[in-house]
């Protein structure tokens, strides 16, 4: 459902970060991307929803049987595409001075006309859907709180609810639990998995702990020196470890 071929991305400073990335993700898969810091895992994710423009190669997203070439899209098509791709950020990226429910409704902005969204008029159906999304991540009681007053784990759950509103076919998660304590991280990972499995949403998550990948992912991609060096089972052997990280005692 997502196919990446020969993806290439050069940094503004001239460094070729992604040299030749090839992989594909099937319907409902939960794929963890592992690799050392600075290997371009985040950039790879950002190329998929075009927050970053790649320098070469192609990314094809097949949604409802329609293949869409992401790398060839113009501005309008990129917006169209982003509506179907949810994104979870390391730092949650909520609008802190707005209420939780408003933050969740932001997930609908891509599908609402400009004029209506500037008048803050969300349809009753959308508001109801937002409450259901909050309920799904277990924080329906926080709907009217200011987002900035929530704990990190709660904020990330609001971000997940925001993605649910998009009714995505693909979910990108960029180090979703890197800013959270281990217990909270478990809760957030559990929610991500439940949405991926429950709604059949393919998920691509950059993770820093192979342990989390082993427990939640169905598959692991290892990125090193700009290419995929490992593509396979989420249970990494010591050798796999060495292939991805360069030593087996990380």
């Amino acid at each position: 459902m997502l196919t990446v071929n020969h993806l290439r991305k050069r940094l503004p400073n001239g460094k070729l970060l992604l040299r030749d990335i090839n992989f594909s993700v099937g319907e409902g898969e939960f794929v963890a991307i592992l690799g050392l810091s600075g290997t371009g895992k985040t950039i790879l994710l950002r190329c998929i929803n075009r927050l970053t423009t790649p320098d070469g190669g192609e990314i094809v997203l097949t949604d409802n049987g329609n293949p869409l070439n992401i790398t060839q899209s113009d501005a309008g098509e990129i917006r169209e595409l982003r509506r179907r791709i949810g994104m979870i950020f390391q730092s949650f990226n909520l609008v802190k001075r707005r209420s939780v429910i408003e933050n969740v409704l932001i997930g609908k902005l891509g599908r609402i006309g400009m004029v209506r969204s500037l008048m803050c008029r969300f349809a009753d159906d959308d508001i109801e859907m937002a409450h259901r999304a909050l309920n799904r991540v277990g924080i329906s009681d926080l709907a009217d709180r200011r987002a900035g007053t929530l704990s990190g784990g709660e904020q990330q759950r609001v971000a997940i609810a925001r993605s649910i509103m998009q009714d995505p076919c693909l979910l990108l998660a960029d180090e979703p639990v890197a800013n959270l304590d281990p217990t909270t991280a478990e809760v957030v990972m559990e929610h991500l998995r439940s949405i991926s499995v429950g709604n059949g949403i393919s998920t691509l998550a950059v993770l820093h702990q192979p342990e989390l990948a082993r427990r939640y992912a169905t598959r692991v991609l290892g990125v090193r020196d700009g290419v995929i060096v490992y593509d396979g089972d989420a249970r990494l052997s010591d050798d796999d470890f060495e292939v991805i990280y360069g030593c087996n005692d990380v």
């Binding site: 917006r79 982003r82 509506r83 990226n93 997930g107 902005l109 200011r146 007053t149 925001r162």
Partner: protein, 260 residues
């Protein structure tokens, strides 16, 4: 080494002193004139007492007009400044030429004094508060546009990116992710500008742009010194009231920030 230290320590005070002397010579400032002027000054002040209390009530309505001028001028200034600031901010501007143009507008409106704008508008639309309001509105863009743009450049880009990542447009991203982040600083800057505009609108009255300032210049020209003093008292009250009002609004807004 010792010579360098001597130079470093004294060069600025010496330059400063030379600059003071140079300016005194250039402007012909003399203490003697000042002393000679003291009797005139005390005579003038003496003529003003007591204030003409019977003119107090009739002067309330021009005083209110002054506040209304300052208020409307500030409101129009906000309406003009927000789009200009968005176009001038590095992180929001659609292109570099637009940014330079917006910054040019901000620099120009700040450089030209409001009294100059007032003179231009008085000759264009005639005497009265309207040219004063226009002058305040346009001159304020120079300050508000600059402060707003700085606030916009300091927003956390994360939420903006998150809104764009759901497929929203640039304008929606600004409305949902930028505006909420800059509201407190916008409110503070705007109230500060309102305080300045209350005082400026009095000065603008002097060139015929309505309000209590116009009454002041008329009283002066007609040698009604007792009335002048009444006007000065009213101006004092107006300025104090407006500063008190904006301080309480500011405290309310900032208090809200702390509480929530």
């Amino acid at each position: 080494m010792g010579v360098t230290m001597f130079k470093n320590r004294y060069i600025i005070p010496v330059l400063f002193l030379l600059f003071v002397i140079w300016s005194i010579i250039g402007t012909g400032f003399s203490i003697r004139d000042l002393i000679a002027g003291v009797p005139n000054l005390s005579n003038f002040i003496g003529c003003m007492f007591p204030p003409a209390w019977d003119t107090f009530v009739p002067l309330i309505s021009p005083a209110i007009e002054t506040i209304q001028m300052a208020f409307l001028g500030t409101v129009f200034a906000v309406v003009l400044s927000v789009p200009v600031a968005l176009l001038a901010a590095n992180n929001i501007t659609p292109s570099k030429p637009v940014k330079l143009l917006a910054r040019g507008v901000i620099a120009f409106t700040r450089t030209v004094p409001d009294i100059v704008f007032a003179l231009i508008f008085v000759s264009a639309v005639g005497l009265g508060p309207v040219p004063g309001i226009l002058a305040l509105a346009i001159h304020s863009v120079g300050m508000l546009g600059k402060l707003y743009a700085e606030a916009i450049e300091e927003v956390d880009p994360g939420p903006v990116e998150a809104v764009e990542a759901v497929g929203a447009g640039k304008l929606q991203a600004v409305y949902y992710a930028v505006i909420p982040q800059v509201t407190p600083s916008f409110v503070a800057s705007t109230l500060y500008r309102f305080d300045i505009n209350v005082r400026s609108s009095i000065v603008l009255g002097l060139v015929g742009a309505g309000g209590i300032g116009f009454e002041l210049i008329m009283a002066m020209r007609l040698f009604r010194y007792h009335e002048m003093l009444t006007i000065l008292i009213i101006i004092f009250i107006v300025v104090m009231l407006s500063e008190w009002a904006s301080n309480s609004i500011r405290a309310h807004v900032i208090g809200e920030e702390v509480l929530k």
